[in-house]
Amino acid sequence: MKGHRYLPLTEQDRREMLEAIGVTSIDDLFADIPEEVRFKGSLNLPPALSELELVRHMKELAGANATVNDYACFMGAGAYDHFIPTVVDAVLSRGEFYSAYTPYQPEVSQGTLQTIYEYQTLICELTSMDIAQASMYDGATALAEAALMACVVTRRPRIIMAESIHPEYLEVIRTYTQGRHLELVTVGTQGGRVDLEALERTVDKQTACVLLQTPNFFGLLEDGPKVGEVAHKAGALFVVCTDPISLGVLKPPGEYGADIVVGEGQPLGNPLSFGGPYLGFFAAREKFMRRMPGRMIAMTEDNRGQRGFVMALQTREQHIRREKATSNICTNEALCALAACVYLCAMGRQGFRQVAELCLQKAHYAAERISGLEGFELAFEGPFFKEFTVKCPLPADQVVKDLLSHRILAGVPLGRFFPEMRNHLLVCVTEKRTKEEIDHLVRRLEGLA
């Protein structure tokens, strides 16, 4: 084999090194691998590409995709097309950040540690909670881990989930709880929101937690304070899953009794990336500090009298407590959390609120225009933030398909999640959508009816 740009050893180096080891060939270094489990021959993989060829090939693959920028994108449902300031990627592109490992050696990891501490603080500020950890894989796994944590804290086996939670999140909770002696109960909806009466009937002394998403999967805002009250009356924890952008205008869950607040952090400075990598944020009340899953960073002092940051409360984690750890999570989504951190700092107090208000105003403008169209109506009446469900006069799949030719991604058809909602389209309007794009969508929908 010729030389390779990622492999610095020369033939001369290899000879010298083999000699220093006291063997004669590379094969000698693999003599411990039994003959019967050795791979014979060459892997059946495409041959190596030069950098030039690689770039050409990758551009071809990328070019075989349409992007949300080629369309007016009204798709949401857990992944959102928000504006990302250029400073975010400028910071993320620094090799000192992205080529570092988990900050196990704090003396040479203060950059990572301090940014996570800042991130934790920002999440606390958004949610009005006491503490936050360094990140989970995504919103769905954060919610699943919150449910598991609630069962440990309360020593109760029953998890009650509102059916208005993102169906993929509910699936993840079902997967995560397999093999544990836990009971999952879903409570149905009434007008697109969790059925409060049914909820009240269901919550009991065996209930570890009530899981609520608000804004929920259909875009509607749930009655958080009421659900919290129902949970607390039975001694259960109240877990809220939320869209962080919505907290620019909405009352934070910490102000209406949430014990744990989680959510998908992607809207905070992370691109859509076909579904990942994203990050789950996870915040809680202080009393649950030692039950939290994953990493937490704390401020402390060094032996020179300087302020510094370290990984704290590590005895909760898998590398120390092993089978008794609060979670098995090790690698998390640190760089995505850094993106969220830079994003929130770039937006700042005013800008962040402005983003949320733009979403709110534009979504309501769009909803009003669409619901004024013959044959189209809002499926549900309740208050919403940036997403709403439209009932169409034809299958939503068809709507999306027809509007593609007009360079519009009209929304997410709900039939894929709920067969009885074939005509329902979940429409999302972020700050990136212009009035012109919204009007264009409305005109084209009108043409379908």
């Binding site: 030692r290 590590q314 005895t315 120390i320 407590r321």
Partner: protein, 129 residues
Amino acid sequence: MTYPRDLRYTKDHEWIKAEDSRGRIGLTNYAQDQLGDIVFVELPEVGRELERGEVFGVVESVKAVSDCYSPASGKVVEVNEKLLDEPELINKDPHGEGWMIVIELSDPAELDQLMDAEAYEKHLEEQMQ
């Protein structure tokens, strides 16, 4: 070091001191030394019934964590709440102010099966080797 003669010891490095029908329980000096600076202590609720050998609490240092096993059976009648704010008491005075719980002994004879100070010291020596 020499260990207090009025205490009884377990192989897991807990001590118990007979106080009439009750037993005061803590971690030995050896245990606290092995753990290092203790940062957190978890104690049981008063009223809990403990079997001999059952986990009654957890002590944590920065990089280690250890379950504490009850040297005898009985009902928890007192816990050392001072430890919640000052876990370092276990490091400073393991056999005194660093006590963890007091139980009402269900069978005081159980204590006879534990090591006395001399036996415990010998046990430690063996463990070192």
